[in-house]
């Protein structure tokens, strides 16, 4: 399937995986490998010598062809997000940054104003900026205008598993957008990822649905197949909907004519 272009990078996989919530680092690594993903998100946290074995950098850097996309999780303002981005770039060496600014810990909805401000600064500094946003077509366009390499509207609230509840707004964003639109957050099942791709998304970002599955590696593979199927179906051309039945077999009756 055709390549996903983000900034100066191209990826053959259109599934982006989050690395949070897994029961162990090894379970996460197995899922990343099974999915064939080439882009994964990570988050900054304070070093803790008791949890030193949980460091993800070592195990992830051993996977060939994998690019890290640090997020700015924990930032409540543009200023904090920019600071997190600078530290992340220093640590990862990756130009990717997922701008994620949600000041309210209850609903985790992104702050559009702080997000726009942070994206403007980071795009000007040369980051490949990937903002996590509410499904707002006006905001999406404004972010494209300040140099974001994609826009990532939420399907539904982070970790909720409520699927593509924003589908109609996302369709407008896709229609208007000149940068890849990536569904980020809320997906529960591979069929929803497939639907997002059929709808016109260029990629899908999944974390919880894989991480909390009974078998994360198997679920990661299922999502990868669904994303690929949705993308190929879209390119193949979906048939138009009809308000009434349209026969697929001839209706001329030879049985009646024979009697």
């Amino acid at each position: 399937m055709g390549s996903l272009r983000l900034g100066t990078y191209t990826f053959s996989s259109r599934l982006i995986l989050g690395t949070g919530k897994f029961s162990s680092t090894s379970a996460m690594i197995e899922a990343v490998r099974a999915s064939g993903t080439q882009l994964v998100t990570v988050a900054l946290r304070r070093f803790n010598r008791e949890q030193a074995e949980d460091d993800l950098f070592g195990p992830l850097s051993e996977i060939e062809g994998l690019t890290l996309m640090p997020n700015t999780s924990g930032a409540a303002t543009a200023k904090e997000a920019v600071k997190a981005a600078h530290i992340s770039r220093e640590l990862s060496g990756s130009p990717f940054i997922k701008v994620e600014i949600h000041p309210n810990p209850h609903h985790l909805m992104p702050d559009p104003i702080e997000t726009w401000e942070a994206c403007k600064i980071l795009a000007a500094e040369g980051f490949i900026v990937m903002p996590y946003i509410p499904a707002d077509p006006v905001l999406a366009k404004r972010l494209e205008e300040v140099g974001c390499s994609s826009v990532m509207p939420l399907g539904s609230a982070i970790g909720s598993g409520q699927g593509l509840s924003t589908a109609e707004m996302v369709k407008i964003i896709i229609r208007e957008s000149s940068v890849p639109v990536i569904i980020d957050a809320g997906l529960r099942s591979p069929s929803e990822a497939c639907a997002a791709m059929e709808m016109g998304c260029e990629a899908v970002l999944v974390n919880s649905a894989v991480a909390v599955a009974r078998d994360p590696a198997a679920m990661a593979l299922a999502f990868a197949k669904a994303v690929e199927a949705g993308f190929e179906a879209r390119n193949a051309g979906l048939m138009p909907r009809s308000g009434s039945a349209v026969a697929t077999s001839p209706l001329t009756s030879f049985l009646g004519a024979a009697s």
Binding site: G18, T19, G20, K21, F22, T25, M28, T41, V42, A43, L44, R45, R46, F47, N48, R49, A52, D54, D55, L56, F57, G58, L60, L68, P70, N71, S73, K83, H86, I87, S88, E90, L91, S92, I158, G159, A185, L205, N207, S208
Partner: protein, 69 residues
């Protein structure tokens, strides 16, 4: 031996006066993996850590990557 007090990842810590960032990483047992170091809001890159001498009351953050979506 004289000592200074710094704040490391939000906690007060006593270290030998004249310690560098590189020496702090050894003291904190953080030298075995890639880390980012921020001193008083400024990033201290790996090639600066041997020459960056910590001062009394410095605010130091040692950061790593953890799982996140």
């Amino acid at each position: 031996m004289s000592t200074i007090h710094i704040t490391l990842n939000g906690e007060r810590k006593e270290i030998p006066a004249g310690s560098t960032v590189a020496e702090l990483l050894v003291i904190a047992d953080a030298g075995r993996q890639p880390v980012a170091v921020v001193v008083n809001e400024h990033i201290v890159r790996p090639d600066q850590r041997d020459s960056c001498i910590l001062q009394d009351q410095d605010q130091v953050e040692i950061l790593v990557f953890a799982g996140g979506g």
